[in-house]
Structure formats: structure tokens, C-alpha cells
């Protein structure tokens, strides 16, 4: 049996409120199925499961606000579900929790709130990347003290450190015990409604964390876009306007291909560097009301430019309507922001943790360009890289930007 937990859709998410269950106990589910809608600071998000199986119990009620990491449902294997079948009477109708155990009661052990720990213990645990919820407290009333954390650190040093890091990737990275406990009584929880202000706060939290914790370095290069634009004009000339390609897809594709060459930047920094196998580029979508959404374009490198354009056609309107799926919010392995249309030439970005790089594209402007001793005018794009110096060094970043530049000289091959 597995527990499906409230997912963390970014470093800035502390809790979510259940809006709707899309499944009921006994339903067969496949990896990638949407099982519920939750409301977060970033809008209503469809959340997906990561395993095949059968829904066991639903542990969270509609409108309930629960912290990240709270068990929301149990997922059974086929065998477990089969074993359970003969006695269906014991769980007649899970949706009406009249006699069913209260969700809070059955999940207290996994709730990250109510942890008694000294401020010092919390600080050390955070510095060492240890989930304080896993530590046994020996202080007054079970409080976790420095000594307990130090014991936990010593104990953890023994097993493979890599394993702990992998576990952490799946589990929310930030324990937020300061958050109030979800009300067990009938008290109406305040749903985390997405408003311009809540999105602003979500961006603020993520960017503050980034600027506080991530040592950024910046590289910049100018790219001659004449070949890319000529190719675009040519290919768009042969297409109906509906299938028109925007320059952004070439940029996104070039970044994806460059990441194949320089995989060190396709990574998360969480208890050390974790390289990501798949390339999911997060593309920054500015909201007219302020704030940004950064949906992931899944497996960017395997998509053709046409498929990328279709993906943008799908993602951008949903991002603007605050209707993204959980994987789209949580999976990005790098961010691309293209601010050029406002007229700026250069973008120095702030990395979205736990990612380790952000590529910024400015506007394409005509500029004097010298090549082979000749001076001419070319459409020029400034590309910047903001990268996490814990995860990579300037030479890596330089190879990456150069790769992007080279790919954009052969647009037909993108």
C-alpha cells in the first residue's frame, strides 16, 4: 500500500486545499492519471499519481486545507485490492465520513505540524538537510533538542547519503511546522485562493529563497539571429497562420539541445547536485495582473518545433487561467524566460530553486555586427545564463551558452 501525499508544487508551496476528488475508492488508476483538483496559491491544480494501482481510502475531505506531505489517499496494488474485495461491507461509502475515522486521526503520524523542537534543533536540522519530522525528541514533553539532531546526523552519516537525497526529491523539501494545524472541527478552512496577491507572495517566497541561498553567476552572449529568422519566415510562409511558429520555440528547442550536450545544468540542487535525466524546460509566462507562472514543457528535447508550438498553445492559456497540472508546476528542470518583447535587450534572471540554471533571452534588435573583418547589420539576440555556482562553474555555463548559439545557426536542424 502506498500513501498519496499532498505534493509540493515548488519550494514556495506550504499547503493546498482539496477542491474535488476525481476518483473514488476502488477506482483503477494509471501513472499520470489526474486524481484530484487542489487549490493553491498558484490556482487550481490537477494533481496526478505516479504509480499504477487501485484507490484505497480517501483521507482528505473537500475544502480541507492540508500541509504539503499530508497523506491524501491510499493506493493499493492489484493484489491488495483483490484481497480487500471480499469484505466490502466494512467501508460502505467512504465519501461520507460519518463513521469512518476522522482523517486527522488516521494521519497524525505523518502530519508535519505539532513538532516540538527547539529553535536551535530546527536550525541545525535545516542546515544539515534533515527532515526534523523523522527525529525522535528526548527533551521535555518529547521536544527535539540539539542533541537529538546531532544523533540523527551521526546515524544518517552511516547509510548511503545518496538514498536520503533521492527520498528528499519526492518529499516536500520544506517542513513548515509553523503553519497552523488543519482544523479538525467543523471550522471552515480558508482555501488558498489564487489571487494576484497570492501569486505575488508565491513568487516573492521563491525568489527570496533563491537570492538568499543560491550563489548566482551570470554569463552573457550575443547571438546572430539572421539565419533563424530567415528560416522562420520561410517556414511560416508555407504554413497557415494557425500553425505559425514563434521565435520562442526555436529558443526553447536550442536550450533543450544544448542541455543534452551540457547535462550539468539540467539539475536540481537538493542536498547536493541531482542531475535530471529528462529535460523539462519551465517557460516563464507573465500574467497581466502581475506575477508569473512557469509551466514545464515535458521532455522538451524530444519534441519537434511544431510539437513545442502546440505545447505552448496548450500551456500558455492554461497558465494564464491558473489551470495547470501538478506535474507542470513541479517538474521543471531549468527555466527559460523571454522578456524581449517588452523591448529590453538583456535579462539577468533569478534561478527558481531547486533548479540550478535559468536562461534569459532579450529582444531581437538590429545591431551593428562585425564578422570576418566586415561590418554589417544583423538581428541580434542577447542570451544570458544565471547559474548556481554550487552546481556548476563558469566554464560549464560558457559551453552551454555557446551550444545554444551554435544551434541557432542551424535552425533547420532544430
Amino acid at each position: 500500500m502506498l500513501e498519496y501525499k499532498m505534493p509540493s508544487l515548488g519550494a514556495d508551496m506550504a499547503s493546498g486545499s482539496l477542491r474535488e476528488w476525481r476518483v473514488k475508492p476502488g477506482d483503477r488508476i494509471k501513472k499520470g492519471d489526474i486524481i484530484a483538483e487542489i487549490e493553491t496559491q498558484k490556482g487550481i491544480i490537477e494533481i496526478e499519481v505516479f504509480e499504477d494501482g487501485v484507490i484505497g481510502e480517501l483521507l482528505v475531505k473537500v475544502d480541507e486545507l492540508v500541509p504539503v506531505g499530508t497523506s491524501m489517499a491510499t493506493i493499493l496494488t492489484e493484489e491488495e485490492a483483490a484481497g480487500k474485495r471480499p469484505a466490502p461491507a466494512e467501508a460502505p461509502r467512504e465519501e461520507k465520513p460519518a463513521e469512518a475515522p476522522a482523517p486527522a486521526g488516521s494521519t497524525t503520524e505523518t502530519l508535519p505540524h505539532h513538532i516540538r523542537a527547539s529553535p536551535l534543533a530546527r536550525r541545525i536540522a535545516e542546515e544539515k538537510g534533515i527532515d526534523i519530522a523523522t527525529i525522535q525528541g528526548t527533551g521535555p514533553e518529547g521536544a527535539i533538542l540539539r542533541e537529538d539532531v546531532e544523533h540523527a546526523i551521526a546515524a544518517q552519516a552511516a547509510p548511503a547519503a545518496g538514498k536520503a537525497a533521492v527520498e528528499h526529491a519526492a518529499v516536500p523539501e520544506e517542513v513548515t511546522p509553523e503553519k497552523p494545524a488543519p482544523p479538525v472541527a467543523e471550522e471552515k478552512p480558508i482555501p488558498a485562493a489564487a489571487t494576484a496577491q497570492s501569486i505575488r507572495m508565491a513568487v516573492a517566497a521563491a525568489m527570496s529563497k533563491s537570492n538568499r541561498e543560491v550563489p548566482h553567476y551570470y554569463l552573457e552572449t550575443k547571438i546572430d539571429m539572421s539565419k533563424a529568422l530567415a528560416w522562420l519566415a520561410d517556414t511560416n510562409g508555407q504554413r497557415p497562420v494557425k500553425e505559425r511558429l514563434l521565435p520562442a520555440v526555436l529558443l526553447i528547442k536550442a536550450v533543450a539541445k544544448a542541455l543534452n550536450d551540457v547535462p550539468a545544468l539540467n539539475a536540481w540542487w537538493e542536498n547536493g547536485l541531482q542531475l535530471k535525466e529528462s529535460i523539462h524546460i519551465g517557460y516563464v509566462v507573465a500574467l497581466r495582473t502581475g506575477g508569473i507562472m512557469v509551466p514545464a514543457i515535458h521532455d522538451t528535447d524530444t519534441k519537434s518545433v511544431e510539437e513545442l508550438m502546440l505545447a505552448l498553445n496548450d500551456l500558455i492559456p492554461r497558465a494564464r487561467a491558473l489551470r495547470l497540472r501538478s506535474s507542470e508546476l513541479a517538474d521543471s528542470t531549468i527555466t527559460v524566460t523571454s522578456l524581449g518583447e517588452g523591448g529590453v535587450e538583456t535579462v539577468y534572471g533569478v534561478i527558481y530553486p531547486p533548479q540550478v540554471a535559468l536562461v534569459g533571452f532579450g529582444g531581437i534588435t538590429e545591431q551593428p555586427w562585425s564578422e570576418n573583418g566586415m561590418l554589417t547589420v544583423r538581428p541580434v539576440l542577447t542570451a544570458t545564463l544565471a547559474a548556481d555556482h554550487r552546481a556548476s562553474d563558469g566554464s560549464t555555463g560558457s559551453r552551454f551558452l555557446t551550444a545554444i548559439k551554435n544551434y541557432l545557426q542551424q535552425p533547420e536542424k532544430l
Binding site: G237, P240, V241, K242, A248, R288, N313, I316, E341, G342
Partner: protein
Amino acid sequence: MTQEEIKQALVQRLKSIAPDTEPGQLQPDDNIRQTLGIDSFDYLQFIVALDEQFGIETPEEDYGRIQTMRELTDYIAARVKS
């Protein structure tokens, strides 16, 4: 279809793309994208939607020529009639 009707249709669509703006107050020669702050993606969607609404097809070579209210209404009016 009159120029005024086309203009009304444009204003309505622009309002849905950029609800925080007043497209009705666009001057004939204002650049629509720049004045209302519409990005290339939304502008493309806008043109695609207009094509569907008016049953026309905007080819690539015309795409860059329809940037103002006047250009756009004239362009659509000419095509709808022909």
C-alpha cells in the same frame, strides 16, 4: 460588414485578451501590441481567432503589416468583401 462592426469585434476580442486595458480608446494609428502590451503569443492567438471569425486566412507575408487598428480593420474589410 461595416468598418465599425469590424472595429467593435476587434475591441471585444482585445478586451478578452487584455481585460485590464481599454482597447476602445485605441487611436487608428496606435500600434495595438505596443499600446496594450500584448505579447507575440497572444497576438498570434488574436489573429488566428480573427481568421476564424471572419473566415479569412492571413498569410505570413501579411502578418507583419497588420499592427494598427486602421491596418487591421482595412485588411479584414477588404478580405471579407472579396
